[in-house]
Amino acid sequence: MSNRIVVPFGPQHPVLPEPIHLDLVLEDERVVEAIPTIGYVHRGLEKLVEKRDYKDYVLIAERICGICSFTHSVTYCNAIEHIMGVEVPPRAQFIRTIWMEYSRMHSHLLWLGLAADAMGFENLFMNAWRLREEILDDMEATTGGRVIQGTCKVGGIRRDIGDDKLGEMVDHLKKIRPLLEESNRIFTHDQTVRHRMRGLSVLSEKDAWDLGAVGPVARGSGCDMDVRSSGYSAYGELGFKPVTFSHGDCLDRCLVRSEEVLASVDLVERAVAKMPDGPIEEKVTGNPEGECFAFSEQPRGECLHYVRANGKKNIVRHRVRTPTFTNVPPLVKLLEGIELADVPVVVLTIDPCIGCCDR
């Protein structure tokens, strides 16, 4: 029997944008066990809800994550609006949906760049991030912020997008679509990418379901689960269909994200085509009393915001179950049996967002 050694991986590692620590138990070069530790950036944001006005707290909810920020604020607002029986105007729902899809595009392009960088494919890395800048430009032009928007509020949104600007956004997306398709083609067919990722760390559909995997990790294993299918915000009117792949390996987790960028472009185009006229917010008075579990599909997967309120301006409890948190058990399984040199690529394929996870 080989000797076992423990190799610490992280919390600071060139391939990790955020701190997570893994104790990798190795036999020769093969991982036989992985023990994760999180909490290095635990901020206790959920606790702040006890001291902030529930309307102001939207801005804190948005800061749970620097990438899926807008989706966090929408999910929190959905929970409060559900408790208070607030009907958000359709135009606000559509614009929220557009911004959520822009968040998804920039998050996935960020990840695709990181994945290419982890494989040593520098050109692909720079190409993905160049395309991400194009998306961020439109985010900035319409919200004023690149990654933190601050445009969602309880009852609707703070800023409208004029019809002219919506047209410009669609034109811009049409212009960059061929570049996104070219990037997608490289991820799908390039030998370097396929050699590095095909067949690596396979997660079967059954294991993905049993272990509680969500988002591209689950859909890359063939699980047809995407909260957008439930029709929240404006998704019910946009003919949404989830992107799934069936091999369950690193490449399929990558391809789900790559294809979803193009699917997001389609969703934005459809949302603009169907954009209703009308107000962008419903006036909200009083304080919430009750509880709600609100779900949304963030770029990294299903996210839950649980809100409990007692009729005062401070919320009793705000609990956020982020996609990375629930993807940690699948990660532990994914790491078992792989070579040490593959660990960085495999860790990346769950798109770990530790800021979200530690909130």
């Binding site: 023990i35 994760p36 530790t37 999180i38 909490g39 290095y40 635990h42 206790g44 959920e46 606790k47 959905n78 559900h82 958000v88 729902q93 379901w209 049993d210 272990l211 509680g212 689960m225 909260v227 299918s229 439930s230 029709g231 929240y232 915000s233 019910g236 709600c292 579990f293 609100a294 779900f295 299903e302 839950l304 649980y306 409990r308 009793v316 409890r317 609990r319 179950r321 948190f325 629930t326 940690v328 058990p329 699948p330 532990v332 530690d358």
Partner: protein, 127 residues
Amino acid sequence: MIEQKHTIIEIEVADLLKKTEEYHKAGHRLVQIGTTPLGDRYEINYTFTTAWDFESLRITVHDGDELPSISGIYWGAFIYENEINDLFGIPVNGMNIDFKGHLIETRIPTPFKNPPKITKVPKGGDA
């Protein structure tokens, strides 16, 4: 508009494993385990689903109580159970992976635990 349905079922702690086993056999996935501190007690929700109809088993526990682990039924539950132990100070017995309070390293131990009940403020001093 939220389109997801959610049903909350209140149960006793003693029935937790049996009910969880039923969900597992019926093909539900574990969505989350979440704790709400309510001053003198904690509510813990175990959420399951097969699609977009969610069901939560709700149990109520107090400081000093212990929970049985469901990680023998849902392997991935260890992440939530360690969180309950680390943030709320509620011990969970029989976890498949027990970090012994070190999954989430916080400067203050069990920061989300209910504050101690103050029944009498001593004269001339802080409670």
